[in-house]
């Protein structure tokens, strides 16, 4: 019994988060388009649903609060109360409070709802109604004959007597009657293939009528189980690879054929399993809408946010880690990018700023753009600022792209005054770090001074698999992500020079690149120094700076499934994970950039030591 209750509560919390996110979306919609019967109806249903389920699983605090809120919503629905900005604000705050309550419950803590806020809501409900006791009667007469409203009216009938006396019985039953159908309808809206940009745009303006409800039954599966499945499939793929490599040894033609067949099916299964982790960007994008609203309000600007391609699907991990960078880019665009109304009019633009957040596929990658029609970036100003801040020196020669990328340098902020919202100097560097380190992606900046800036985030489809280059160094195999490899060359002895204080340098088509040995960078002693006939240099270019890393040999190119190493190895810099190679042996995935950054001085020492030996 207890366990069942706990399970139910867990499910409720997941569901509640979704309901609240949807509700927030709807509230923001209201603010944009004024009174909108369908939206109000939608919010009302969401609130009602939340109340019902909360009570059913024993979260009375949430139930009570939602009940109060529901009464207010009912009045709005019945046009008893106008949807004035203060009311919408109150609704949003209530929504926030509920989100907090749910989050607290998720963390396994006790909750108490905010009595002051509840009172505020209750006051607002009472505010426009002269006689509370009469309200229930007046409500029931104009009620449309839909199930939902009838149910709501029953609730409203209970209201004047107070929620304490609200009997336990109706709530769960209401929930059973209407509960299950509601969230599905909402989720379906989310899944409606309004994939094309135009569609989404229209949908954003008219939320309910235009959407076609497509029935697609779905079940909720825990991420843990999914990950276990994906893991096992990964192993299956490896075994399958081994099997097909050995298939020539099988005498029976029939068995050989079966192995090929098995290979095909395994590939299909892998593709499907990878797709299981994909979730749409909808929730993340919705959050941005709220951020734009709050930020513009605080700054007194008027900015429209346009969302495009919010149905684009991404790996769950990617979506989770994308939130922070997007928040920073959006805030930056609202705060710094888009001018104030006066400035815009002076520049001959419309007073309303326009911000576009779009997502889509391009060439096997996911592209996410944050585009504003603001003042754009001025390379000379950024450069001057960077010199002032000591990020670069006066003599450094940088391309325009490089200069734009200085925005992402830690401790850089082009605005002199620190505002409440952004400009604390911690903002944009998070974007670069998150996108490049955690997401294996790239950030590009395009700007036209005077007419706007576009920040483009390019991400791989999944983090679980990378294209890797398998190399051997000092007898061990390592995987280098192919995205890090610019080129690989086999250096001639005459190309390799030694410079005191710098170490070994490789001359590549007239350019001198610092040269490191992979095994030295990793602190592994090479077994025999001489047998290096196959020695190959991997050239890595990161920004303007390039370097090369010597390995004994490049074994090949392979798609590898990234495996997490245990916590006991979590702090090793330069090693991003493990991978299981075709023969079933594990290998480490190395991040050469990280290794160089960490071991610059150490590599020099080793290079000298190596020279001493040679």
């Amino acid at each position: 019994m207890d366990e069942l209750q706990q399970q139910l509560q867990g499910t409720f919390l997941i569901e509640a988060t979704e309901l609240l996110a949807n509700a927030e979306q709807a509230f923001l919609q209201l603010e944009k388009s004024g009174d909108h019967a369908h939206t109000v109806e939608q919010i009302f249903r969401l609130a009602h649903n939340l109340k019902g389920s909360a009570r059913a699983v024993g979260f009375d605090e949430i139930g009570e609060f939602t009940h109060t809120l529901e009464s207010l919503l009912l009045k709005i629905k019945e046009h008893k109360i106008d949807l004035s900005p203060p009311i919408i604000d109150l609704l949003l705050r209530s929504n926030d409070h509920l989100t907090t309550l749910v989050d607290t419950l998720k963390a396994g803590q006790e909750v108490r709802c905010d009595q002051i806020l509840k009172q505020e809501v209750a006051d607002a409900t009472a505010g426009k109604t002269p006689n509370q006791a009469d309200s229930a009667q007046t409500i029931s007469s104009p009620a449309p004959p839909s199930d939902m409203t009838a149910a709501a009216t029953r609730d409203a009938d209970d209201h004047p007597t107070g929620y304490q006396s609200f009997s336990e019985e109706p709530a769960p039953s209401l929930n059973q009657e209407h509960g299950p159908s509601e969230p599905r309808a909402v989720t379906n809206e989310a899944q409606t293939p309004a994939a094309t940009m135009m569609n989404t745009e229209q949908a954003a303006k008219a939320p309910v009528e235009k959407k076609v409800v497509v029935q697609d039954d779905s079940i909720r599966v825990s991420l843990q189980r999914l990950e276990a499945l994906v893991n096992h499939i990964g192993e299956l793929v490896i075994l399958q690879t081994v099997l097909s490599e050995q298939r020539q040894l099988i005498p029976s033609l029939f068995l050989q054929k079966t192995v090929v067949q098995l290979g095909k099916i395994t590939k299909d299964i892998q593709t499907i399993s990878m797709g299981l982790r994909m979730v749409s960007l909808k929730q993340t994008f919705s959050k941005m809408q709220r951020i734009v609203r709050d930020t513009t309000k605080a700054l007194g600007k008027d900015i429209d946010l346009e969302l495009i391609g919010e149905d684009t699907e991404l790996d769950k991990t990617v979506v989770d880690r994308l939130g922070d960078p997007l928040v920073h880019l959006i805030r930056n665009a609202v705060d710094h990018g888009i001018e104030t109304a006066d400035q815009r009019i002076a520049a001959g633009k419309s007073p309303n700023g326009h911000l576009t957040l779009s997502a889509g596929h391009a060439g096997g990658k996911i592209v996410i753009d944050v585009t504003d029609d603001g003042r754009g970036l001025y390379a000379d100003r950024i450069r001057a600022k960077a010199i002032e801040k000591g990020v670069i020196t006066e003599h450094q020669n940088l391309s325009e792209q490089d200069i734009y990328h200085l925005l992402f340098a830690p401790g850089f902020s082009t605005k002199s005054e620190v505002t409440d919202l952004s400009g604390r100097g911690v903002g944009l560097d998070v974007v670069k770090t998150n996108v490049e380190k955690m997401l294996q992606g790239q950030v590009q900046i395009d700007t036209t001074p005077g007419s706007g800036t576009r920040f483009r985030i390019i991400l791989p489809l999944t983090l679980a698999i990378i294209d890797g280059m398998v190399v051997r160094s000092a007898g061990d195999r390592f995987v280098v992500p192919l995205t890090h490899v610019f080129e690989s060359v086999r250096p001639q002895p005459k190309d390799i020079h030694f410079l005191t204080g710098i170490g070994q340098v490789m001359n590549l088509r007239g350019e001198n690149l610092p040269m490191h040995r992979l095994n030295n960078l990793l602190g592994i002693k090479s077994k025999d120094e001489k047998a290096n006939l196959q020695e190959t240099a991997i050239v890595v270019r990161h920004g303007g700076q390039g370097f090369s890393v010597l390995v004994d040999e490049i074994i090949g190119r392979q798609q590898v499934v990234i495996k997490k190493l245990g916590d006991e190895l979590g702090s090793l810099t330069g090693i991003t994970g493990g991978a299981i190679l075709g023969d079933g042996h594990p290998a480490l995935i190395v991040d050469l950039n990280e290794l160089i950054r960490r071991g610059g001085s150490q590599a020099k020492k080793s290079a000298i030591a190596h020279k001493g030996v040679a």
Binding site: E568, L569, S571, P586
Partner: protein, 166 residues
Amino acid sequence: MSKHESKTELRSGAERYLAFTLGAEQYAVPLLSVKEVVALPETTRVPYTPPHFLGIMNLRGQIISLFDLRLKLGMKADNGPESAVIICDLNPLSFGVVVNSVDSVLSLFKDDIKSKPEIESKIKTDYIQGVTQRQGKLVLLLDVAKALSIDEILAIKRNAAANLAS
């Protein structure tokens, strides 16, 4: 599993331990912390780790770290035909430990377990939880977390930090 003893004793109220041999000594760990026992796998070295960190191994698609307790405790690490790896599952850590042989499952009551002999020693012995007797031989009850992980994680982190600093 082993020629020493493969009979499992079952008594209610007792806690069960997996007994194994390290060098010439008998040790045991709580059975609940043992996920499985596998044959000695091939390992891949990991840079900047202490000597008794043997590397990483492939456990049916999962990569886990492999330690050699014998090196840690200052014994010789000779592997014989009976050598095996005990996969310990100490939430959230999961790792393998090489042992000379896996012997039996003991079920011990509280009063079967004596406190360890107190001796003046510079070597920390807090990884020994207690001592019990099996057929005239002493069996040391091991706290693997203490014997390895906590120390080791710190050591590895220190190593990494030292490398970062240098």
